[in-house]
């Protein structure tokens, strides 16, 4: 039985008449990388900021290791660290000073703070920027400064709101490794993102939030399997035609589209069905030149679940 790091119970947050999050129920387990996926304005950031005790729930509650964000907010803040979507600094702030102060406020002594800040800044490639003012930093570097705060704090629950937005591709991969390492060291990581590749790359479980409501929850493969006939087995075969008997047999497995020497079969759990398909081709003596199984992307999952395109919505 996995222990729960965060329990979100009937959580609703309203700003005036606008309902940002509507009756959300969700459990996040200890030591997992959990993703909140959804377009901008879907309620991801509001949920994260409430876990971090920045906002108070309008109704319902959120518990971090059993501590209520409404009644024990101070205890929760000791357990949670957050890297905000937009870096929270003034233009004249310098990364080193900012992070050293952050290290002190999260509990390090003065000498420890200097050491841990240098270590983290070097890890993220920020050391050379340490004495620049914030307005002189690129968007990606500012995001790294936000992430550095969490790495310094090493909280039990780390909240990362779009951690690699504005970060270049090379740095993204490095940051994903850093995030996984944080998890390996015992931190539960919650990531909000609208980058499906990032979600697939880093997250173990995902919640899809759309217009303030939870639409789907599960591991990536569970979500993909939730689309009926979502997997595609694409076969390129020798010769121009396909025997009628083979076609009939394939239609028993899934929906079939045949085009000259390429055949597409839409199935559920494609990785299992591909064996049956190969066997059928062998039985009808049709030589397979190439065969591949394509899973639906998270974008497909999002489209199927919400009826909207994630990129368009974002």
């Amino acid at each position: 039985m996995k222990s729960k790091a965060v329990e979100i119970e009937n959580f609703t947050k309203k700003f005036g008449d606008f309902t940002a999050v509507d009756n959300l129920n969700l459990d996040i387990y200890e030591n997992e990388v959990f993703g909140l996926l959804g377009p901008n304005g879907s309620g991801k950031t509001t949920t994260l900021l409430t876990i971090a005790t920045v906002y108070k729930p309008t109704s319902g509650d959120i518990y971090v290791y059993g501590h209520s964000v409404t009644r024990e907010d101070y205890v929760v803040r000791k357990l949670v660290g957050i890297a905000f979507q937009d870096p929270k600094a003034m233009w004249i702030d310098k990364p080193y000073e900012l992070l050293t102060w952050h290290a002190r406020i999260v509990g390090y002594s003065s000498s420890e703070a200097k050491k841990v800040v240098q270590d983290v800044m070097e890890l993220l490639g920020l050391w050379e920027h340490r004495n620049k003012q914030f307005y002189q930093l690129s968007g990606g570097t500012r995001k790294k400064v936000e992430l550095a705060k969490v790495l310094i704090q090493k909280p039990r629950v780390a909240i990362l709101d779009e951690p690699t937005a504005q970060v270049d591709v090379l740095s993204k991969h490095a940051l994903w490794d850093v995030i996984k390492k944080l998890r390996d060291e015992g931190t539960t990581v919650i990531i909000a993102t609208n980058d499906m590749f990032e979600a697939e790359k880093v997250c173990e479980r995902i919640a899809i939030i759309y217009k303030g409501k939870l639409r789907a929850l599960g591991t990536i493969s569970e979500l993909k399997d939730s689309i009926p006939s979502g997997d595609l087995v694409e076969v390129q075969f020798e010769g121009g035609g396909i025997p009628e008997g083979l076609l009939r047999a394939l239609r028993d497995i899934g929906r079939v589209e045949a085009r000259s020497s390429v055949l597409k079969v839409y199935v559920e759990k494609g990785e299992e069905k591909v064996i049956d398909i190969i066997e059928l081709f062998r039985r009808y003596n049709v030589k397979i030149l190439r065969i591949m199984v394509k899973e639906p992307t998270l974008d497909d999952v999002f489209t199927y679940i919400t009826g909207a395109k994630l990129r368009e919505e974002s």
């Binding site: 700003f15 900021l49 971090a52 005790t53 920045v54 906002y55 108070k56 907010d73 101070y74 803040r77 000791k78 949670v80 957050i82 905000f84 937009d86 929270k88 600094a89 003034m90 004249i92 000073e97 102060w101 002190r104 406020i105 999260v106 509990g107």
Partner: protein, 254 residues
């Protein structure tokens, strides 16, 4: 101990920013002080000596009061910028209690007030002479209470709205009311005549109470109602702290 550490760190952050913005504040102060000096020189020759024998000696405690008022009040400007840029989200997510955060921010304002006032205290000593030890205590207590009041008030006012123009307008209004509706510029005898219906506010203004104590402390007047002025300042500062705690936290945490 842990509580004090968090509070001091919050105050330290504000103090570090204060030093970074010191030229802006120096400009503000220089402008205001220059105005006052000019007023002092002109009024010295114009004001009936029967009312105010020496306007420079009269206004010097006022300048002292304004120096701590202006610098303590300046923290509100930064709080306002932080609110608009949502840096406040960061502050309220930190592992400190709401009480530590509010007290730390007020203390940040108080410390910058004292730092700026230090130079003016020397000026006052040069112009007015050295107060006795008990009067020094009184002067410093009054400074502390006024700084707490103004720091709290400016933080509260700056969190009332995220609209920059409205924020600036409200801050200016509060600033000028406290600045001018007091006995900093006019003797008490003239308040009722010059300020009309605003005279009672001037009488109970924390600025007036502080200036009264300063004038007594620097021997400009031989006696005042110390209990009334000190109690008044304690009430003002207590209300400011309570009000800041409620409004600042409520407006920051939605």
């Amino acid at each position: 101990m842990d509580w004090l550490r968090g509070l001091l760190l919050v105050a330290q952050r504000d103090l570090a920013r204060f030093w970074r913005n010191i030229y802006w504040l120096a400009g503000q102060l220089a402008m205001n002080i220059a105005d006052l000096v000019i007023f002092a020189v002109i009024f010295r020759g114009l004001v009936n000596p029967a009312y105010i024998p020496d306007y420079i000696r009269f206004i010097t405690p006022g300048i002292l009061c304004l120096s701590i008022f202006i610098s303590a009040f300046s923290i509100g400007r930064e709080v306002g910028i932080e609110l608009r840029r949502e840096v406040t989200h960061y502050l309220v997510s930190l592992p400190v209690t709401r009480g530590q955060l509010v007290a730390g921010r007020i203390l940040g304002g108080v410390l910058r007030g004292f730092m700026y006032q230090a130079g003016f205290i020397i000026l006052a000593v040069v112009l007015m002479g050295l107060p006795s030890v008990d009067k020094w205590l009184l002067i410093l207590t009054a400074s502390l209470l006024l700084a707490v009041t103004m720091s709290g008030l400016s933080i509260t006012v700056s969190t009332l709205t995220r609209d920059f123009n409205l924020q600036a307008a409200i801050r200016s209004l509060v600033y000028f009311v406290f600045f001018f509706v007091s006995n900093v510029f006019y003797p008490e005898k003239a308040l009722a005549v010059r300020l009309g219906s605003a005279a009672p506010f001037a009488y109970y203004s924390p600025m007036s109470m502080t200036v009264n104590i300063y004038r007594y402390g620097f021997n400009y007047v031989s006696s005042i109602d110390v209990f009334f002025n000190l109690t008044g300042l304690i009430v003002w500062s207590t209300l400011a702290v309570l009000f800041t705690y409620k409004v600042y936290i409520r407006n920051l945490t939605g």
